[in-house]
């Protein structure tokens, strides 16, 4: 049983994450949590609203990048801070999920880092023991 959810890794100009999970659904969910942990303290995010997401891509790595970029878009445009990600269905090329969180409140949430995008650089999803791990570098 994997207990690790994610860790943040150093990259000179940017920042990376490694997300862990017992299955691909968990990896995607933990990668999303890792993304929001770069932006703010995720324990300060309350579940007030939910938002459905559907992504289509060409392969599982690109699907991960597009999933994270979708969430960055939601933060940038809709000002959503998300902390729980229920991946309903996932294949190598498609994902549907419901995300939970709230709209940013500048009095309550301290924003740590702006994230421009998830990149394809050093992008990796691989088996890790009984589970999986995924590495993503963000441009910040």
């Amino acid at each position: 049983m994997t207990v690790k959810t994610f860790k943040v890794i150093d990259h000179t100009a940017d920042v990376g994450i490694i997300a862990y999970g017992n299955n691909i659904k968990e990896v995607f969910s933990h990668a999303a949590l890792a993304l929001f942990s770069l932006i703010t303290k995720t324990t300060d995010i309350e579940v007030q609203i939910q938002h459905d997401v559907a992504i289509t891509s060409t392969n599982v790595e690109s699907l991960l990048v597009e999933w994270l970029n979708e969430l960055i878009y939601l933060f940038d445009v809709e000002h959503l801070l998300l902390c729980r990600f229920d991946i309903k269905a996932i294949s190598d090329t498609q994902l549907t999920a419901t995300c939970y969180g709230e709209t940013i409140d500048i009095l309550k949430h301290r924003i740590k880092t702006g994230v421009k995008a998830a990149t394809y650089h050093m992008l990796q999803i691989e088996r890790d023991g009984h589970g999986y791990k995924a590495q993503v570098i963000f441009d910040i």
Partner: protein, 485 residues
């Protein structure tokens, strides 16, 4: 980080070459501008492998270049320059980056240090209040989606039409603040939406507005052409780009390029280098949307220029004209441009990717303003917020050697988290105060990420560019006050 153990050959004290046979698939050698000491630091990360990877791109000419501020990026190294043959080459959004037309604008004033110091806090508060900055900052301008289309098609001209400056500003902006290839029809709805709320904002991260003073003048004739005449003279440096709009344009393009790489059977060592032939539909679409983002960034810097002038005018009780607040120049340092260069004795059209590199056109070049014809194009090189910045000019040597390009800044040496581990925002604040630098920021904790220690000394970077001859120093400036998002 893993040390880079690849093969490198010394050409002279400032030129280092990665031979083309270092890796099968390289189409040209790599060329790095650095001192031996700098090279040792550069080898501590994988930036040089990225120089190698860029050399794989179809149509690349002469070299995969690394400017002396090279550091590890994603896909291209930051400080990377690659020129592609316009007919047989590719265009790579990763060679421009997410912050399309991130760039620098310099304003001069008639003010001197002794006039500004007593009012510095008031000035900084006024600038901070007047210029939207910080994460998720929204503009003061409400731009509708139909207006966005005009804004990105017209660039700086749009801003001038709406009262944010004068035609004189256009004369001293790279491309006169508008890349005419811009085609708003090619933009995604998302890009438009992301751009609507962020026009006219400084942003966060390494973006800033700095009130500076002239510390040293190396070339009085060139300085004078820029309206820089004395030690202690106050200048303003603005560093920002195309914000979320540019990020979305790049994100959208990379999705298309991922597929294009398969369609055109292009073999790449890093997916972030995804590209398409310049002549292909995908290539043209990218160039047309990239131009939209470039124009957006120029509007952004133009609006910030206007609010800077307004703020100075309020604090000093004089019109900005009386304060002599003319724009010196505006350069893009994340961009791809169609240019003509001499390659093996023939003048050909190329697309130059500058990813963290500055155009450095020589005296007499038709694309630089009349007033700089004798001195060459101004090149604006910011350092970190605690040390100094440089004003330089482009040279004939840059034209002959580096496709008219030179460095763009200090170059990061510590990752953001490593910088945060080694010092706190408060310590950085104290260090700045000790150097008599006033700072106003939305986030004190992120200050540590931008501390001097996180960057290479820009003086060493600019000296390499000077020794190589790809740019020539004009003046050195130091910060008086810094505004950060």
């Amino acid at each position: 980080m893993t040390q880079w153990h690849g093969q490198i050959v010394k050409i002279d004290d400032f030129h280092w070459k990665i031979p083309q046979d270092y890796k099968s698939g390289m189409r040209v050698p790599g060329l790095i501008y650095a001192t031996e000491e700098m090279l040792e630091a550069i080898r501590r990360e994988q930036a040089l492998e990225q120089v190698v990877n860029v050399a794989f791109l179809p149509g690349i000419l002469k070299f995969s270049f690394a400017m002396p501020d090279i550091h590890w990026g994603y896909g291209f190294p930051i400080g990377g320059v690659a020129a592609m043959d316009a007919t047989s080459g590719v265009i790579s959004p990763g060679g421009v980056g997410y912050d399309i037309n991130c760039g620098i604008r310099l304003l001069r004033t008639n003010l001197v240090e002794s006039e500004v110091r007593p009012k510095i806090q008031q000035l900084v508060d006024e600038l901070f209040r007047n210029i939207p900055s910080g994460l998720g900052s929204e503009g003061k301008m409400k731009v509708s989606s139909s207006e966005m289309e005009k804004l990105v098609a017209e660039g700086s001209r749009w801003a001038i039409k709406h009262g944010f400056g004068s035609n004189e500003d256009l004369d001293v902006t790279e491309e006169r603040g508008c890349m005419t290839e811009a085609n708003p029809d090619k933009l995604s709805e998302r890009a438009i939406k992301r751009g609507m709320s962020q026009a006219g904002t400084l942003g966060s991260g390494n973006h800033f507005l700095e009130v500076q003073m002239v510390r040293e003048i190396f070339d009085p004739q060139a300085a004078s052409a820029m309206g820089i005449n004395q030690i202690g003279q106050i200048l303003v440096l603005i560093h920002t780009g195309s914000r979320g709009f540019g990020h979305q344009v790049c994100t959208d393009a990379l999705r298309v390029m991922e597929r294009a790489v398969l369609n055109y059977d292009i073999k790449l060592p890093d997916r972030q280098l995804a590209c398409a032939p310049i002549e292909s539909r995908e290539g043209k679409d990218y160039l047309e949307t990239m131009a939209c983002a470039a124009n957006y960034a120029w509007v952004n810097r133009q609006c910030i220029t206007h609010w800077t002038r307004e703020s100075f005018s309020r604090v000093f009780g004089k019109s900005h004209d009386k304060l002599g607040m003319k724009q010196v120049y505006d350069v893009a340092h994340n961009i791809a441009k169609a240019e003509y260069h001499l390659v093996e004795g023939k003048r050909i059209k190329v697309y130059v990717h500058r990813k963290g590199a500055t155009r450095a056109f020589p005296p007499g070049h038709k694309d630089i303003p009349q007033r700089y014809q004798k001195i060459g194009q101004p090149v604006l090189i910011p350092g970190d917020m605690g040390r100094c910045s440089f004003i330089a000019v482009g040279t004939q040597k840059a034209m002959e050697e580096s496709f008219g390009s030179t460095c763009h800044g200090a170059g990061r040496i510590l990752s953001r988290s490593a910088a945060k581990r080694s010092l706190t925002g408060r310590e950085v604040l104290r260090a700045l105060h000790e150097r008599n630098i006033t700072i106003k920021t939305g986030s004190i904790s992120s200050l540590a990420e931008e501390a001097s220690q996180a960057y290479r000394d820009v003086a060493k970077v600019i000296d390499v560019a000077q020794q190589v001859g790809i740019s020539k120093k004009v003046a050195l400036t130091i910060p008086v006050a810094v505004i950060k998002g």
